[in-house]
């Protein structure tokens, strides 16, 4: 069981990661991104749409970390920190807005808000 822990703690990049493994991670992040996208487009509930954007953030973060690991430098991870800040800021704003909209229309349906037209 201990080597499992060791493997887990590859903290200081002793060995460079192969390109093909990188591709695995990239596939996962793209898939997550695609799912987030589909979610955003199909769900009508405002909050769930925001959640889907968060999922897309996550996908981006994963890709960044993967590339960071591949290139053996920490830029990837610092940027994920910033993604977190952005996600947090966005969440705050979006939720405040959602509360406001909900209070106005008693519904979370995105299609109700269509005045800014033509």
């Amino acid at each position: 069981m201990t080597d499992a822990v060791l493997m887990l703690a590859q903290a200081d990049f002793p060995t460079p990661m192969g390109v093909l493994t990188l591709n695995h991670y990239l596939f996962v992040s793209t898939a997550m991104f695609a799912l987030g996208l589909i979610g955003f487009m199909t769900r009508r509930n405002l909050i769930i749409m925001f959640l889907c954007t968060e999922l897309m953030f996550q996908a981006a973060g994963l890709a960044l970390i993967a590339f960071g690991r591949y290139h053996l430098n920490f830029d990837g991870q610092t940027f994920v920190i910033f993604i977190l800040t952005i996600a947090a800021a966005e969440a705050a704003m979006a939720l405040a807005l959602v509360v406001l909209l909900f209070r106005r229309r008693e519904s979370l349906d995105a299609d109700l808000w269509a005045e800014l037209k033509g």
Binding site: M7, A9, A11, D12, F13, P16, M17, G18, V19, L20, T21, L22, H24, Y25, L26, F27, V28, A31, F33, A34, L35, G36, I38, M41, T42, R43, R44, N45, I47, I48, L51, L55, Q58, L62, I65, R69, H71, L72, F74, Q77, T78, V80, I81, L84, T85, A87, A88, A89, A92, L95, A96, V99, F102, R103, R104, E106, S107, L108, D109, E115
Partner: protein
């Protein structure tokens, strides 16, 4: 530059077929009124995902670059939860599934030896942000009427033009993956870099304190001597290749050419701080502050703005009496011929 099919990490045909399969699966998994083959859709999507991952792994197998087994677990978990999140009609469950995805992806971070980020993700992201989401979901869903406990809000019941959206999404997936896979082939190959030295060379203070304490202890350095350092340039003379240290008596002198004031001291193997390994947190911290100071400032400002915005949006509305507000809302919402309003 269409590289030969052989070197591609995955046979593109396989990729596209899997994508189509995945798309169909997701479509089926979409929430819709009446009986819905959600489960079957989910399985189909999972199968497609698995197919692609298998394709990748089979290729990686030949080059012995398969990621560890945990990758498959966490990857599958993440995608499954993600799918479930977007297809689940109840918003609360969707949020919970999202938390599951976050946990899965923090696992993947660990695999990519980004421990700090993994835990930061769980603490900040899952812990704070998603809990706020849950909080707002609770706040903003109408209490279900007595007769029908699990009545679904109309807007959650069915997806909106799922087919078009899904196909768009999966074309994006197919295209992105093809581009990424082709792109990664042209990445510069990284040879092993002793990342700790890279970090250590930027943490002179840490190394210097450790070494000087042990050297003084072993009297290899007279008390008035100290490890030579050039303050103006910020360089400490520690030659980790031949494990020796330049020791000088004078003031912050220049380099080895100070003649009598300095002498090289070989550091015995066991005294070289073995655990001098830049941990991940130090690396991230150093990179954060050394390479991206400006970005931190901006991040700070963004957060400030977000706070400001949130407070402004959420401040107490002038309390029009309910009835007028509702009427106004109705008037705005429905482009109905203006009936005589009050």
């Amino acid at each position: 530059m269409n590289t030969a099919i052989a070197e591609l990490p995955i046979n593109p045909l396989l990729l596209y077929v899997a994508c189509v399969l995945g798309a169909i699966g997701v479509i089926l998994a979409m929430p819709r009124k009446g009986v819905s083959p959600m489960v079957f859709g989910g399985l189909l999507a999972a199968a497609a995902g698995g197919l692609i991952v298998l394709g990748l792994t089979s290729h990686a197998e030949r080059h012995a670059q398969t990621p560890s087994i945990f990758f498959y677990i966490f990857g599958l978990l993440a995608l499954g939860a993600g799918l479930r999140m977007i297809t689940h009609p109840k918003p609360v469950y969707a949020a919970l599934y999202f938390i599951l995805t976050i946990i899965a992806s923090s696992g993947l971070y660990l695999l990519l030896s980004a421990e700090f980020m993994a835990f930061a993700l769980i603490i900040i992201y899952a812990g704070a942000i998603l809990i706020t989401y849950l909080f707002v979901i609770m706040l903003a869903t109408l209490p279900p009427s007595e007769d029908d406990m699990d009545a679904l809000a109309t807007y959650d019941a069915s997806a909106r033009e799922p087919i078009v959206a899904t196909f768009a999404g999966f074309t994006l997936l197919a295209v992105l993956t093809t581009m990424l896979f082709r792109g990664t082939l042209s990445l510069p190959v990284r040879h092993g870099m002793d990342s700790s030295d890279a970090i250590l060379s930027k943490l002179p203070g840490k190394v210097e304190d450790n070494l000087s304490a042990s050297l003084h202890a072993a009297e290899l350095m007279t008390p008035e001597e100290h490890i030579a350092r050039q303050v103006d340039v910020g360089r400490v003379w520690i030659d980790s290749a031949r494990r020796r240290v330049l020791v000088s008596r004078g003031e912050n002198t220049a380099g080895p050419d100070q003649g009598e004031l300095v002498r090289w001291v070989d550091v015995p193997a066991e005294m070289w701080p073995a655990d001098m390994v830049g941990t991940n947190v130090e690396g991230v911290g150093l990179n954060l502050l050394a390479d991206h100071p400006m970005t931190i400032e901006i991040a700070g400002v963004i957060l400030l703005m977000a706070m400001l915005g949130a407070t402004v949006l959420a401040r107490k509305q002038v309390d029009l009496e309910e009835e007028a507000k509702a009427r106004q809302a109705r008037h705005l919402a429905l482009d109905v011929v203006a009936e005589d309003v009050g």
